[in-house]
């Protein structure tokens, strides 16, 4: 954090854009055509969590042992998070091949057998980056039929810490083009492209820029909202970590169009790698006079500062975010006036989401018609979703607006893990809703989701299966919003707390008749009595689960039973004596609290007093026995 974006030294004699670009292209071609194998390792946060740094180290060590000198590039996230760590090898004579689930051992084998030898280790292949006759390519995957990568195009293919990679893949050409256009023309181009805010609300981006441009007051600001707080959403992180320049370029164009002079990229504190990558990207852009004074020799000057958040969900709300940059607690204020009229320091301010800004360069480069050609109805372009939860192919997917939930979850996401049944999908974070199977054929766009009681939100999708309890999910999400409420509005502050208490009692089997009606009443009041989006949408998870899964609430209330066997107060773990394979000790060894003992006949027994219901024994019991079961209500355990 700090003065990262100050305008810096005067940029006299900076090279012109064609020169910058041809130099970048030359470096890029040299990298890919050096005659040596090129190794790409995905080291975004998800890759690192899976061990990418260790894999990278193993590759370097093995190359050292083999006395080989191959270029290695650390790239971002391709979106195939389920297969991390991912390594791509481009060896002359072969297509670039991508390997998934690479560990240190596999990394060593890839070097010895493929790079030194000539065996492309087909058993570890995920897919090839281009079509060929040797291995299936990503374009042959069933999901390729539904995916359309526009803003994720570069993610996982370029080194996000090297601006030349971005330039070589066509980067900053849109900025150069935009600087030759009148700002009004850019605004009308973005308007006719139909670009709507990707942060969730879907406000037309062009209109926002125009309002800012027309509003009096100087200097004007552009803020990139990278405070991606919705649990379950991680696409903004992936874009900032994997292709930060696409966001910077979008900001520059937004600044030029809306008449702004300064920009802030607000990144959440929980994303340290994104902060570091954006900082590097800003430094490199400044060096090439892509930010700063008289950008690319034009009259347009724009500097960008990085602002790291401090861990408050509410700061994703635009007026709270502005308060936070001003050095105040992130408490929202009443709108209007909207930030485009009166924003940061009381001046007109454009606030756009990371993905919105990442779309901009493609609109300027390819035209409004091209962008509007993708998508449906009033929602144009593509949408990026983060698939998580009980879905096979977790990760990022970019699909045209209007793709159905079924296509997204079953075709792109390859369905539910472990052959379980789909139950619901939680869309749009804590402000969104849970949609059941009957909603699977809904086209995903801003308006359809809203009508179904959910919202696009930031695009997080947590898929749930038959083992997930909807009441517990509603309780969890309410707990989240309750904790993150800034406390300004009484109904949001106290109403959510009341709701949480009621939900807590229901999931503990202590619910009372009338609880459901009380929840609905509270929900309506909180919606009506809250100022900002957090409070207005806080009841959504409860309302949408009540709308589609009311029967589950009722079973909890009337029978003290959790049908999904998830609520811990309502279940017990039990080992069926007839099924217990007496010579096996798997459950005893894994029990984290030593609650399992062996009786005289060597049958395992759980001490219900000691059991903490962590489920480790259930996972440990070999599937051919399946002796451990969950029972609800807990008094079903034979005495």
């Amino acid at each position: 954090m700090g003065k990262t974006g100050d305008s810096g030294p005067p940029q006299g004699g900076a090279p012109a854009f064609p020169e910058i670009k041809s130099r970048a292209l030359a470096r890029w071609h040299k990298l890919w055509n050096s005659g040596k194998p090129l190794i790409l390792v995905g080291t975004a946060t998800c890759g690192r969590a899976a061990g990418a740094v260790e894999v990278l180290q193993a590759i370097k060590e093995e190359l050292g042992r083999q006395d080989l000198d191959c270029p290695i590039v650390e790239v971002g996230c391709m979106g195939h998070c389920y297969a991390e760590p991912i390594v791509t090898i481009s060896k002359p004579g072969y297509p670039p091949i991508c390997y998934g689930h690479v560990n240190e051992v596999i990394a060593g084998r890839l070097v010895r057998e493929f790079i030194t030898g000539d065996d492309p280790c087909l058993e570890f292949v995920l897919g090839a980056l281009e079509e060929n006759e040797l291995v299936p390519s990503f374009s042959d995957f069933p999901r390729a039929r539904f995916e359309k990568r526009i803003i994720l195009k570069n993610c996982g293919y370029i080194d996000p810490t090297d601006i030349d990679h971005y330039l070589a893949r066509g980067g900053y050409a849109a900025l150069a083009k935009a600087l030759g256009m009148p700002p009004e023309e850019i605004i009308s181009e973005v308007k006719s492209a139909g670009l709507r805010g990707r942060g969730g609300a879907g406000f037309p981006t062009g209109e926002k820029w125009e309002t800012c441009r027309r509003s009096p007051g100087r200097p004007k600001y552009v803020i990139c909202n990278g405070d991606e707080g919705d649990p379950g959403a991680f696409m903004d992180r992936a874009i900032l970590e994997s292709d930060p320049h696409s966001v910077i370029e979008g900001m520059l164009i937004a600044g030029y169009a809306s008449g702004a002079r300064h920009g802030y990229i607000y990144v959440r504190a929980e994303y340290p790698l994104a902060v570091a990558r954006v900082r590097t990207a800003l430094r490199q852009a400044r060096k090439l006079n892509l930010t700063g004074k008289n950008i690319l020799g034009s009259n347009f000057s724009f500097d960008i500062r990085l602002f790291s958040g401090s861990g408050a969900f509410i700061c994703g709300e635009e007026t709270a975010l502005i308060a936070s940059i001003e050095g105040k607690p992130g408490i929202p204020r009443y709108r209007p006036p909207y930030p485009a009229v009166k924003g940061l320091n009381g001046k007109p301010t454009v606030i756009n989401n990371v993905k919105t800004l990442a779309c901009v360069r493609h609109i300027i480069e390819n035209g409004a018609g091209w962008f509007a050609g993708t998508g449906s109805g009033k929602s144009k372009g593509t949408a990026v979703f983060a698939l998580a939860g009980k879905v096979v192919s977790t990760g990022l997917a970019e699909v045209p607006m209007g793709t159905t939930l079924r296509q997204l979850i079953f075709d792109v996401g390859s369905g539910i893990t472990g052959g379980k049944r789909f139950k619901a999908v939680q869309v749009g974070g804590p402000s969104g809703g849970c949609l059941p199977e009957s909603a699977l054929d809904l086209p995903i766009d801003f308006d359809s989701l809203q009508a179904a009681g959910a919202m696009m939100g930031s695009g997080g999708m947590v898929v749930l299966d038959e083992d997930d309890c909807m009441v517990e999910l509603a309780r969890y999400l309410t707990e989240f919003t309750q904790r993150e409420s800034c406390g300004k509005c009484t109904l949001c502050r106290l109403g959510t707390k009341q709701m949480l208490e009621v939900l807590g009692e229901i999931t503990a089997g202590k619910g009372r008749p009338g609880d459901i009606d009380m929840l609905i009443e509270l929900a309506e009041d909180i919606k009506a009595g809250s100022l900002c989006g957090l409070g207005k949408t806080a009841p959504n998870p409860v309302l949408s689960t009540l709308r589609y899964f009311r029967d589950e609430y009722e079973v909890h209330l009337k029978e003290g039973r959790c049908p999904a066997l998830m609520c811990r107060d309502l279940i017990a773990y039990y080992i069926i004596p007839e099924r217990c394979e007496r010579s096996c000790d798997a459950c005893v060894g894994t029990c984290t609290v030593e609650a399992i003992s062996t009786d005289k006949k060597r049958i395992k027994v759980i001490d219900q007093e000691k059991c903490v219901k962590c489920g480790t024994c259930l996972d440990a019991c070999p599937p051919q026995y399946s002796a451990v079961v969950k029972l609800s209500p807990p008094d079903r355990v034979p005495a």
Partner: protein, 167 residues
């Protein structure tokens, strides 16, 4: 002044001289100072308030509003259990219980030997690897209760070495 107090004063002065003195610099100042000291002592907050010419209450208000800031010195290692939606549904709360049992502290607390901080985090964006626990700065995927001991194991020799040195 104790050595600790001198250290706090020196570091606060350094950060203040490096960053501006406008209200808008408050959050960056607090972030940088916490990075250096590990927490925000009362003395430092008072110093910052004086320097920015704002009431001490305003500094305290900001510090306590944001989750990232802490008022007490941190433990040597931080254990942060992700409680995002995906992590929760895949058993993050069960993992948190396992950490609580293992370290005998509640979230927000530090072990008495000041080795470990236990905390929760809203979401670290590694939902594909749920349930996640962030150990120091590294996110670890698929952390189930059985992995808790294994994660702590590498810290054991470090502590023993340290204790040996003290003796």
């Amino acid at each position: 002044m104790t050595a600790e107090q001198t250290h706090i004063k020196r570091e606060t002065g350094k950060v203040l001289s490096r960053l501006g003195r406008k209200r808008g610099d408050l959050v960056p100042i607090l972030q940088q100072l916490q990075q250096r000291l590990g927490y925000l002592p009362r003395r430092a907050m008072a110093e910052i308030a004086r320097s920015l010419d704002i009431p001490e209450m305003d500094v305290y208000g900001v510090v306590t509003f944001y989750n990232q800031f802490r008022l007490t010195p941190p433990g040597r290692h931080s254990i942060r259990v992700c409680l995002g939606t995906a992590c929760h549904m895949k058993g993050g709360y069960i993992t948190l219980d396992a950490w609580k049992r293992r370290l005998s502290v509640n979230p927000g607390e530090t072990t008495p030997d000041r080795e470990f901080d236990l905390d929760t985090v809203a979401c670290v964006g590694c939902c594909a690897m749920a349930p996640v626990t962030v150990v120091d700065d590294k996110a670890q995927g698929e952390v189930t209760p059985t992995r808790v001991d294994g994660i702590l194991l590498p810290f054991q020799p470090e502590k023993e070495k340290e204790d040996g040195k003290d003796r």
